[in-house]
Symmetry: D2
């Protein structure tokens, strides 16, 4: 039985809305039944029509969507609402949706401020409803394999974690042109206090904690606005200290001219190391002190049950970004269904980012921007 | 408006059926409404139920599916039938479907024999209905880019074409175990006269003609059955002569132990060369006589309109096998819709393999197996 | 004690002469003491002077070199003569040198004809002197590692061997310009009956036999002259049958526009496979049926004693073409010294190509060109 | 005419001494004539004998070498002295050699302290003799190409510089075993105040300045000693600010278990970017805002005159670490010879690291260690 899905944002021309919809369809766990695709009612209607949604379930605002859907019979009513708007329209709709009895899929970063994030976490907990935060890169099977190898002690005790996220698409003052993506992501009123750090730095941060199983305790950041006229950071590097004493480095930039989106994570322990990068997403390089490095591959018969659970095809049939995204949607759906059937979701089902990751991500943004402005070297990672 | 899709074959446990369904969903152009998922009626019912298909539209045989669906009102009736059965159940259902007024998506190779393929081509033409043959690899945007660069003379006149398709999954006598994929693919009664040559050799052959824009005119094949006890070829190499005088080589094997599915195509002209491989599916290497090689990337702003038409995300967000497959389904859907609306499909819509490629593929199988058995060196490619 | 080295050919402007000299110096086993660097006496003198050779030991012809050096006292006299001339000046000087009591390093292919090769083999044997044939690629440590893994049964019984040698530098009619390399290599009177097949096909052939430990027994060749006006083949593909029953494919071309020199060898057995390519010369990919592929690396502590014997630096310090070449020179020197000291050279010392490989290489040329002209499919590999 | 070379250090069992000797031989510009290979006179003698040096020119101490060689006739006397000892034996012998009229090749880092470095710079200048500091990685042709592309404005104004130097060989307490390399490099009395930062951090630092053409003005460092019991840092990350306002990040570690020696440098400007790594040393990736990335290759006809000047073979014949090292030796020799012949060395000849780079390298060490210990965030790079 498919979950009935609604969408807030993601109207015609939006990038991430289309990605969410594809991700929701890949494993056939959702049916898109309603939406408030744009704050412009006419545009929302047009988007809904293009998506084949019946006109009466295309709404002009998220409030209307939630209110009207609540009044529908349970077997028709939306169950999961995906919120794919710019950051400043995350908190209120997510809060209202949860409080109104709907599960939520929310694009990252979770909110506009850490304060909102903490409140949303509390709302989620008290509502009994579930929230999935789309940190896509944790959806890749080889990222999950990496996490499991670390957790199992395969590389020994973690000593060093590197995450690099190089992009180049904001190398010019793109927000001066008619570039919708650039405009809102560099506008503090829509994006929050961070640009690159919020947009991609949070992904890198999330990867370091997800794969290493550690938590950042202190950081020291160099945050830059490189392109003249830009209002938010477009480049940064962050020294990290983890709770275990391990150290790390995050670099995230949107002005590495010509770079696409090749996010990388490397983790080294006292027995070996792991290296993964999105440009070769179906390979995980595993290194050892005294034997040849190995190439673990998506779909390999030797990969973990969790990795295989998040893979659709045999090894050698590359799965990419949309499949990683779909894994989040799929796992969330299985968890929602299990919960609604009063069953206990398995660990594999529960393997999607949620409110805790969202709070930590917002804390990363606030801590990293504060550190960037600070004369002090190491600052504690506070929440 | 989604096309109503039915499926023949692809019940629980089948690999390619699930792939077809995902591919059909990614771009939301289809709705699966009926199926005859297994020749075992009970298993068909169970598969249909698991897929959320209403019980009365899950059929026990393809004949029943076609007959019953024809009797349904037009707005409910299936429009496109995907046939994802082993090769010996391609021809009859495809023929019947076309003759009964349905469009067909058919897995490759098109039929069990060349004779069937030619008949099916004629049936398709006279039926006025459309057929899409799922040669997946031509769905990749960078393969399309390669084809266009060749056609535009970017690398000059084509001189040499290499296609390599190394797999290792049939290195052991897997058909002796309970391996469903291995069993039918190595069984002449289900697979036809070719094993590896039919299963993957046809893909390699199709790639050479698709990218080069040339047609094979003569060939000389070394066809082997390496694993003891196997009934069909599991390895082969083919020297090619194209109609233009260019030459080529296809190697395709299923006994390259440890190899996954890294199909490669390289084309060299008198001004440059192109190299693509599935393990790095989002890159196309373009070489020149006297300047640095270039890396063309899926989603790059400099890629062709057709390549971009077959891409969903910005560069650096890897799209893989399922997206390539989805491009076939999507383009076919757009063509079907255009035709049904009496509009002329664009060249981009029409960019999917069909009956002509199917006939050439079956001719490849028959010619290559005959050549393998022949003492004669070069034999003409006859249809 | 360094071996005293003389050189025939390799005057100013020659490519391979300089390579031989660097290779001879890297491990300090040789001292260049004399030469006949050019058939033009003046040019020979100038080359000798530039190389710091005393004028009286720079000769105008190879005959003069051999005759005069024989008359020098033993502690001054040349011991090893490197012959780095075009193919048509291989046989006579090598024969004369061996018969006159000198060891010989000879560039490949060994001679102009198979008949000469067999005669030279006999001369070498009866002379008691040694001959090293510079099939460079067998000098790479990871190629040696591959050979040893095959010999040790690491990948099981060999089933399939692929060698690919793509070059593009003869894509144009370079011999029409003032391109010395192109001119002699495409001239039958200097190069022999083969162009690409002799120049690089023999390397590919040698690699297949060296790594697999097998010998070719039958072949079927497609040999082409692609560039208009060219007198010899510039492209070819060869189907192989080995004595063990294994099969293989060699492709070698000099018209793959934009390709550099990325020779590759892959060998698959019933338990695993090996893949090596010169563009990543310090890595050997080892594949298995049921576990992750491994990356064996030059200098790795886990590599074989022979691989390490042919490596100068720790892993991660790339060694390249010149070091591979130097390994041939070094191993040859150690063998010569051992022999001269009446000691038994070790297997590692003896690991360089010699007259047997030379005869097989010339047989390859004659067989492959004959097959290319033949209507018959499989022809026996005759010597 | 070869330069007469002497060596201090580099006796049997030493790693870098052998590398220096190979590097000095590759281009035949040097002849090793004398040495003080070990502070142990007997071991020095044995090493000299193994190297074929006449016994009377094998010395027990560097003082003896310099004193005795000064007394030899000019046509016999050593001209260039290579100092390949641990860091604490750099300053005095280099100073004495320069003051005694000899040119010096010196391994990095230049001295034990910045103070020594500055003094040595002054000595070198007043002596009129030349000093080459072996920052090997600047010897690679594609690193030189990168520097030139930046200097020519090919990627626009530099904004971001990343250098990464991951090694894993000190992941264990190797200095507790009988590991000579580990022992001195982790011993403050021999290595100075820095471990990893001196050993490899200086290479990374040198690369950032060499390729970008900028100078570091401020830094902020996280310096760690990860392996218990170790006396010096084995890991670090450094935030950089350049004089132009560009920023950068250096990471250098010797505890990335399984990592070999894959130093990487990336530079991004406002028009494009450059990426080079030693594991693919013959490729330089050049990225652009709006066209395909390019792969510039060692030996390519399109590479710069300087790159080609530092290349021995055609593209596709990989040159590696030893050839990069040899480029330093060769360029230094050409400069020495030009100077001695009162000619002006060309810019290409002068392209080797010297005392200025040495002073900056020692300043890096002192500044980075001080920053690591500091609570202050950004500290000026002082000399």
């Amino acid at each position: 039985m498919k979950l009935k899905l609604g969408m807030i944002g993601g109207g015609q021309g939006a990038f991430i809305g289309a990605v969410h919809r594809i991700a929701s369809r890949i494993d056939d766990e959702y049916e898109l039944v309603c939406g408030a695709f744009s704050s412009n009612a006419e545009r929302s209607k047009a988007s809904g029509a293009a998506l084949g949604i019946s006109d009466e379930r295309v709404y002009g605002t998220y409030q209307e969507l939630i209110e009207k859907e609540q009044q529908l019979p349970e077997d028709i009513r939306v169950q999961v609402i995906s919120i794919v708007t710019p950051n400043h329209v995350h908190f209120e709709p997510a809060k209202l949706a949860l409080q109104s009895g709907f599960h939520v899929v929310l694009d990252k970063p979770m909110t506009l401020t850490l304060q909102q994030a903490k409140e949303l976490r509390d709302v989620a907990k008290s509502s009994g409803k579930l929230l999935c935060l789309t940190h896509t890169y944790t959806g890749y099977p080889m990222v999950k394999q990496a996490r499991e190898l670390v957790a199992a002690g395969h590389i020994g005790q973690v000593r060093k974690v590197y995450a690099q996220y190089p992009q180049g698409w904001l190398s010019t003052f793109a927000e001066g042109d008619d570039n919708k993506q650039a405009s809102w992501r560099t506008d503090p009123s829509q994006s929050g206090i961070a640009g690159a750090m919020g947009d991609i730095g949070t992904h890198a941060f999330n990867l370091t904690e997800y794969v290493s199983g550690l938590q950042v305790s202190h950081l020291c950041a160099d945050i830059n606005t490189v392109v003249p006229g830009r209002k938010l950071d477009d480049d940064g590097a962050v020294l990290l200290r983890f709770d275990s004493g391990a150290s790390g480095v995050i670099t995230a930039t949107q002005i590495a001219a010509g770079a696409e989106n090749n996010v990388k994570i490397s983790v080294y322990g006292d027995k070996g190391g792991l290296e993964w990068q999105q440009d070769d997403a179906n390979s995980l390089i595993v290194r050892y002190l005294d034997k040849p490095a190995e190439i673990w591959r998506t779909g390999g018969g030797y990969t973990s049950a969790t990795a295989q659970f998040n893979t659709r095809t045999p090894s050698g049939h590359p799965e990419g970004y949309l499949e990683a995204f779909a894994n989040l949607y799929r796992n969330f759906a299985l968890t929602v269904k299990a919960k609604e059937q009063k069953e206990e979701p398995t660990a594999a089902m529960l393997d999607f980012p949620g409110v805790e990751e969202g709070v930590r991500g917002m804390a990363f943004i606030e801590n990293v921007i504060a550190s960037g402005r600070s004369e002090q070297k190491w600052t504690p990672f506070t929440i």
